[in-house]
Amino acid sequence: MTHFSWLVDGSIVGLYLLATMIAGIMVRKYVGKVEHFLVAGREMNVYLGVASLAATEFGIITCMYAAQNGYKYGFAGATPGILQALAMFLVGYTGFCIKPLRDAGVMTLPQLFQVRYGSFIRWLAGVVIVLGGLLNMGVFLRIGGEFLVVVCGFNLRYLELTMTVLLIAVAVYTIVGGMLSVLVTDYLQFVVMSVGLIAVTILIIVKIGWASLAGTVTQHYGAAGFNPFLHADMGWQYVLFNLLNCIAIVLTWQTTIARVLAAKDSRTGRKVYTRTAFFFVCRFLIPGVWGIAALAFLTPAMYDRLSDTMRASQSLYAMPLLLSAIVPVGLMGLLVAAMLAADMSTDSSYMLTWSSVIYNDILAPFRRTIWPEKKGLRWNRCIVALIGLFLLFYGLWYKLEGDLWMYLQLTGAIYLSSMSVLLIACCYWKRANSWGAGAAIACGAIVPIAYLAMQQIPHTQALAQRIGANMSGLATYVLVALAMIIGSLLKPAARPTGAR
């Protein structure tokens, strides 16, 4: 039984959607150039950046995997949030990589690579970034739709329709206003999302009680539920792999660094990072508490409401099931609006940033002459629309196997490992060159893809399980770094000018 009321909660959601669409479309008149569309004319200031970064990095998908972590690992499941907060604060405070990146005045990461590694590596980096990013984003819609279906008690048949309507709404304002619409709607979405998240968390803690939450974790996982190093499924490999991934995300995830690139200057970009850092603890801990609450509150009979497919991934759908049971009318509307806000801000940013890489880097060889701004804008808008179509179809047929967070980590690792190594070497190692970069990109893509393939092929499933996603991820980073070093050292150094 869900508490979603069409009259009360539906009105709240409708009002929120209307306000977002109006705000998103209204700023279209300020978009006159590709630079406005992709990086908001580099006019973003600190607090808008904080709102936008936080809203972008929290979607329904985030809420689902963080809650799943809480359900499966207890409080220890929030460890990636602490690691990411640390990584973001340190990078923001020191300006490591992001300062030279913003100072270079580029619009995307691969554009910076062209200076040191040449145009082929720029193009290749663009392909890898888009491939990794789109595979990663491919599961967003379905998971988001499933969340809404369970929380609101809709029939599962309407999932595709809900997803499609949501995506069209997001696509419309992203296509017309680009980054400017994304920033303005992100701001609204941040406020709505935050109010909803805080209110529901307080409700859960008051209703279930801290003692019951902690007791449930102790009962199911013992000390390992509080300490990731003691957990059988986590351990040092999990912590180390997550730490590396968090550093790489902060340095190279296109949606994250898009805020640095859109900032007024590198100082503003760094402030956005340091001031948003602690949000990443909330990002994992708040849904993590919801997941633990689901473990504490739900009885086996309550899971009967889930479809057969969903029951197979009980840990993933327990949290929305809990919310449908305990959030009252009125607050339910705020919760759904908050989660829609979270999802829309993520989708719009993701569509825009991957499109920026396609336009700026993958299509770069076809733009030998400078395109008129109108033509550039038209292409960017078409690319955003095509990404929307891809998401719709990929999201409909891809069936997720295993742990959602690990899927996202692995698909992200296709580019995170190689791009972070390329960026660090580009900024701080003069000997780095195109051979090293090419080898690093190849290793960074091959290892995660091979692991994903091994998981799908029946003959290699057991081996994949023995290796484990954490070790596969760690191996990727090590191999990529070695590939960069060896490849760069193997390439003969360029002769000084005038030498024979």
Binding site: Y47, L48, L180, T201, A223, N227, F278, F279, L285, I286
Partner: protein, 45 residues
């Protein structure tokens, strides 16, 4: 360790509530200023 998570959860809720209110005000100002600057640049051209 339980105490650590209890304190962290409390701190997260307190920080998040405060930041939401602060960013709601300052972010609106940032949007207004950003759009004014873009309008000014467009007018100059």
């Amino acid at each position: 360790m339980e105490l650590f998570w209890q304190i962290l959860t409390g701190a997260a809720l307190l920080w998040y509530s405060t930041v939401t209110i602060y960013v709601a005000f300052r972010g609106a100002r940032d949007i207004r200023e950003m759009l004014e600057r873009l309008q000014r640049t467009a007018d100059e051209k």
